[in-house]
């Protein structure tokens, strides 16, 4: 059972062979297995199963597998809130901090993949990385960074700015 392989298929149809233990970090995959097990208890446990992941592209799936594989050797320490630091390296182990040092699009895709595949520690890590991108940035910097056009009315802007002055 430990050596069983799961085939994870990306949106493009590319297939990745993953040890079952690694794949089972995803609750989506785990649930797929338990559903199948309920249907056919006599099934050969060494049989290779395939799980289609139509929402996850191949490059992102590759990163997800890299994360889950590393997690088997070094479990990520849970992220404590409130955060004691604003830098990733002080919040998680070095490997995990480096893992999310990727471009923004890849980071958002990883958030979406972790959410879709239901991998809690990966979701925690990637959301933390997004939060750290947001931390300390002005509204204008955030709009530039995420390419968002200003859509608040001057009154709304003024109101939000007043609150901001209180919080700063």
């Amino acid at each position: 059972m430990e050596d069983a392989i799961v085939k994870l298929t990306s949106k493009e149809g590319e297939t990745f062979d993953v040890p079952r233990k690694v794949a089972m970090m995803s609750k989506l995959v785990k649930d797929t297995f338990s559903d199948d097990d309920d249907e056919d208890d006599e099934e050969d446990e060494t049989e290779v199963k395939e799980v289609p992941l139509p929402n996850v592209t191949a490059p992102v799936l590759k990163k997800v597998i890299e994360y889950c594989t590393h997690y088997q050797d070094e479990e990520m320490t849970p992220i404590q809130t409130p955060l004691k630091s604003g830098t990733l390296d002080e919040l998680v182990q070095a490997w995990y901090a480096n893992f999310v040092k990727v471009d923004r699009n890849m980071l958002f895709d990883l958030v979406a993949a972790a959410n879709f595949m239901d991998i809690k520690p990966l979701l925690d890590l990637t959301c933390l990385a997004v939060s750290i991108l947001i931390k300390g940035k002005s509204a204008q910097e955030l709009r530039q960074m995420f390419n968002i056009s200003a859509e608040l009315s001057p009154e709304e802007q003024a109101e939000a700015q007043r609150e901001n002055a209180v919080a700063e």
Binding site: I79, C127, A160
Partner: protein, 334 residues
């Protein structure tokens, strides 16, 4: 849509926003309508969730000025500002103590204590709401922080001790002689400016009241219809000066811990003036009140002259009054 805005709302609510500070949340509100519109506002929902958490943990009284004066976003924001300011003052005091700076040094660079706290009348002090915020830390670890209400919003002169002495119990049985001495020598001779109800304080037990306990007391001052609220420092120091009774005695139901004196500068530079808070504990060893007394002999005398009467009775007189009220009992002279 950018990838950030594609992220589902529940991911913002359950994950991303949880890691952000209050200041970050306020800035994020200004980014786009998604974070601002009341219908779709994940940021407002996060403020509401944090406010709910604070209301629960802080046990705000229903008549609390903090609840009535501010909306949920402002409450979360001001709580955070108070916490940040208190931490800053705690660290300032620690640096101050480690540098052995003489507190009466006119060039002392640290924030002075705000000691001119007006007397309370109908919940206001000189027409303003003083919302006191206490922070208890130990070796820079937070034990508890939050707002404390005035023990009696009508008068600072109501002693909380009266409530702790059970009806029918002779006051002398409830109080240690040294406690009475303390009260006569320190409290009666000083100027008690406020008693704060501390029954909502959790995570601070009597065994934590040691030399490394650091107490910081600040206030958020709100002027109705006026300018933006202000933050003022009233006390920030480490250490305990006196404990009554010591060791704890089962025979006495009330105990008291007097914190270290802290010098008051600025307007009182020419006088020996200091702030001394004390913690009053109930028979069950629950923190009951935090009181602040000042020793400004010149100010007290001026107050007495202005009011034409003594502000505080002798404590033994006070005990007599309690006993007479409850028991019709009279202490022996002396």
């Amino acid at each position: 849509m950018t990838p950030l805005l594609d992220t589902p709302d529940d991911l913002f609510s359950n994950h991303i926003l949880k890691y952000l500070t209050v200041a970050d949340l306020c800035r994020l509100r200004r980014v786009c309508r998604k974070f601002h519109d009341p219908e779709r506002n994940v940021v407002l929902k996060e403020f509401m969730a944090r406010d709910e958490g604070l209301t629960l943990s802080q046990q705000y009284a229903s008549n609390s000025a903090f609840l009535s004066l501010f909306n949920c976003r402002e409450r979360v924001t001001w709580f955070q500002r108070c916490s940040d300011f208190a931490w800053e003052m705690t660290r300032q005091a620690l640096r101050h103590q480690s540098e052995y700076v003489l507190c009466r040094d006119p060039d002392c660079p640290y924030v002075n204590l705000h000691a001119r706290v007006p007397r309370i009348a109908n919940g206001l002090r000189n027409g303003k709401n003083y919302m006191f915020f206490a922070q208890f830390t130990c070796q820079e670890n937070l034990l508890w922080e939050g707002f404390l209400q005035d023990y009696n919003p009508l008068s600072d002169l109501t002693s909380p001790i009266r409530e702790l002495i059970a009806p029918g119990e002779p006051a002398a049985d409830a109080l240690d002689d040294r406690f009475v001495d303390f009260y006569d020598n320190f409290v009666v001779e000083s100027d008690v400016r406020f008693h704060l109800d501390a029954r909502n304080v959790t995570n601070l037990t009597k065994d934590l009241v040691r030399s490394d306990l650091h107490v910081t007391l600040i206030s958020l001052i709100y002027s109705p219809g006026g300018s933006s609220p202000e933050l003022r420092l009233h006390y920030s120091s480490q250490g305990i000066q006196l404990k009554y009774p010591e060791p704890p005695s089962l025979n006495h139901s009330i105990s008291i811990d007097v914190l270290m004196d802290q010098d008051v500068m600025s307007h009182y530079r020419k006088h020996d003036a200091y702030a001394t808070p004390f913690l009053l504990w109930s028979a069950e060893n629950h923190l009951f009140t935090v009181s602040m007394l000042y020793n400004f002999e010149h100010v007290r005398e001026a107050d007495q002259r202005a009011s034409g009467q003594a502000i505080n009775l002798g404590f033994r007189d006070f005990l007599r009054a309690i006993d007479e009220q409850y028991l019709g009992y009279h202490h022996d002279e002396g």
